[in-house]
Amino acid sequence: MKSKSFSNWTSYLYPAPALIMVLAFLVAPVIFVIFASFTDWDLLHPMKFVGLKNYLRIFTDPYLIISTRNTLIWVAMILLVPMLLGLLFAVFIKNIWFSNRMKTIFYIPLAISGAGIGVIWRWIFLRAGFLNAVLVSIGILGEPISWLLKIPENTFAMIVASTWQITGLNMILFLMGLQNIPTEVLEAAKIDGASEWRTFTSIILPLLKPITTIVVILNIIGSFKVFDIIWIMTAGGPARSSETLAVSMYKESFGLFRMGYGASISVVLSLIIFVIGIGYLRMVGRENR
């Protein structure tokens, strides 16, 4: 009996290091951020409890309203463009002889950091950058455009940069999904005389649902927390016009040192991602049942 209880006790030692790490570096900071979001913490003065003031401010702060709008644009565009492109590329390169090389080519941008992507695309979109040089030289533009200073063109320019980075990942995931579709089903459709389009819409797409769920969730989370590309390309400017919620959170916290307010933005952002993520997974689960 004694030996069993000892054995029970020691069994807790095995996950203990991991548990301590999770508690110290994940759970504790989360609790602290939630606590800080109800205070006016600014790193210098003692924290003062301010109730829901920070949360109420989010809904009246004009810059936060712009950030929220931009974040929604990012989510919508990232769900639309890189996902569709990823699916399209996956379908087209699946059966071509140099598909492995194509996979590598499309995957390379993902190996570059977000900051690196930002630097590359900033150089492309600058007034004296590559894009203007090409467009002016072939006569499409009379004079260069400051893409990163124009609203909302700057947000769309950054979405293009992000699309370049994540399309490869989406493509690889969709390729995995395509490879898992049983060939018998596709052959049966062929024998039944189904056209390529009909096979794609009635067989391939429904069978890709599990992988599509993963791609959608990854893209939603990614677009809500996008920061590095924006920070490098525009730093949220001009006039805070291209900020997303993640950038606003950083600016309020580490630019203006309104840590409490920044914490409240991060809590709201996390809640939005959590609710959308859970909602989407439930919806997919219901459909599958």
């Binding site: 600058l126 004296a128 525009t234 400017g237 203006l256």
Partner: protein, 457 residues
């Protein structure tokens, strides 16, 4: 047997954790040691070289008071830091361990959290006026007024005011930079232009450059913080009292002086004097200036380091002038920024920190810093003769001119919670100069809220 095995596992786990802990400690210490070794390597050489001269002097060894921990957001000035650290070590035997940050936001956060404890830096570079007041108000900075007593008169009292709060001096100057107009000398010579002495002459220079398809003034809002440049210049040089009143929350941003400033600035935009504001201050502007695509650019005199990067030679390829005020009865007025180095009130090596600041303020410390960095020393008896011709001209025309009125740069003259949001509002104006009335209202609301927040603390 099973019990023994479990015990062995527990012992192994404990041992590995212990080793891990020691390893971490060693790792944590190692970079600092390496950093010091690296930094001090040339020092030792210099000490060895200097030994025959120094042998006669009896030097006390204060090395046990250190090592001094110094943090800075200016790690790029490594040559200057190394030279001063070497001089300080030679004098006192104290090592200096420097931690440099390239990201300013991270630096501020690290300092603000560090200095509330003994774990933070002993000395660190900071910003003047309201930025220094923020920390002094919370009693996080050490009073260094007594270090100025033996050297009274060597430093301009106006500059020391920038480092003071409530009559106490907290900082020693690391950088004193004037905000002046740089111009491309070959371009000016090509179009027979001279340094303007009045606003009309300045406008005439802009017009001539414009007629010859040279963009008169390089200007950017690219990095999110540069849009205040011309607002501060136009308002502060013409209405200095109103400028300070507005910065310190005593006057409305919707006042006539601000309106006139925006209208003047708008007029300059309409005449096409400014470059595309989408260019980058550090990457695009210097090459454009070097190629003569841009004739002039207004910035702090630290901008010469960007000219160095594109191999422009001060005095040959470019020079400077003070922008004349728009109002005729105004004296020569120059915006300046003063960057201090301060001591944390909670410094672990406070005695060493005071010795370091004392050395920094000394004739020797200032000379080493000024010569290595090509910076104008704020200490009156440190000669500018080793500086490049443009810096010498600044030393004479700005800091050496008793009639020149020096005014604190906008960045330091107002609250931290006002500077960045104000830049966002100035961005709006730059993108649409007709929006200035709305921008003024927005600035007024933002400023009122920031002062309310400041006073509530």
């Amino acid at each position: 047997m099973k019990k023994l095995f479990i015990w062995m596992l527990v012992v192994m786990f404990s041992a590995s954790m212990l080793f891990l802990g020691i390893g971490c400690k060693k790792e944590a210490v190692a970079p600092a040691e390496e950093e010091v070794t690296e930094e001090e390597a040339p020092v030792e050489e210099e000490v060895e070289e200097a030994a025959p001269v120094e042998e006669e002097e009896v030097r006390e060894d204060f090395s046990e008071l250190g090592p001094l921990k110094l943090s800075t957001d200016k790690p790029g000035w490594q040559d200057g830091w190394d030279a001063v650290f070497a001089g300080f070590k030679e004098k006192t035997g104290i090592d200096v361990e420097m931690t440099g940050y390239t990201e300013i936001d991270t630096y501020i956060a690290a300092v603000k959290t560090g200095i509330t404890t003994k774990e933070g830096p002993d000395v660190f570079t900071w910003w003047s006026n309201f930025k220094i007041a923020d920390l002094a108000k919370e009693e996080l900075l050490a009073d260094i007024s007594h270090l100025y007593e033996p050297i009274e008169g060597k430093y301009n009292p106006g500059i020391l005011d920038s480092f003071s709060y409530d009559g106490i001096v907290y900082g020693a100057p690391v950088l004193i930079a004037s905000w002046i107009m740089f111009y491309n000398k070959p371009v000016f010579e090509k179009y027979n232009l001279e340094e303007p002495k009045t606003w009309d002459e300045f406008i005439s220079v802009c017009d001539t450059l414009k007629e010859n398809e040279v963009t008169p003034i390089g200007f950017t809002i690219g990095g999110g913080w540069t849009s205040f440049f011309w607002f501060q210049q136009l308002l502060a040089t013409n209405y200095p009292d109103a400028y300070y009143d507005i910065c310190e929350g005593r006057k409305s941003w919707q006042s006539d002086e601000v309106k006139e400033t925006f209208e003047l600035w708008k007029n300059m935009f309409e005449k096409g004097y400014f470059s595309d504001p989408g260019i980058d201050l550090g990457n695009d502007l210097p090459p454009m200036f070097a190629k003569g695509e841009v004739g002039m650019t207004y910035c702090g005199d630290w901008f010469t380091s960007f000219f160095d990067a594109v191999e422009l030679v001060g005095g040959t390829d470019y020079s400077m002038f003070v922008i004349p005020p728009y109002l005729e009865d105004r004296p020569k007025t120059v915006l300046y920024e003063a960057g201090p180095i301060v001591i944390s009130e909670n410094a672990q090596h406070k005695e060493a920190a005071e010795m370091f600041i004392e050395y920094w303020l000394s004739d020797e410390g200032q000379k080493i810093w000024s010569d290595t960095m090509n910076f104008i020393s704020p200490r009156a008896d440190v000669s500018a003769e080793n500086l490049d011709p443009v810096k010498q001209k600044i030393a004479t025309d700005v800091f050496g001119d008793p009639n020149a009125q020096l005014i604190v740069r906008f960045w330091e003259a107002t609250l931290e919670t006002i500077t960045m949001p104000a830049c966002a509002s100035f961005d709006k104006f730059v993108l649409n100069p007709d929006s200035y009335v709305d921008v003024m209202a927005e600035l007024d609301d933002m400023s009122s809220a920031a002062w309310e927040e400041f006073e509530a603390k």
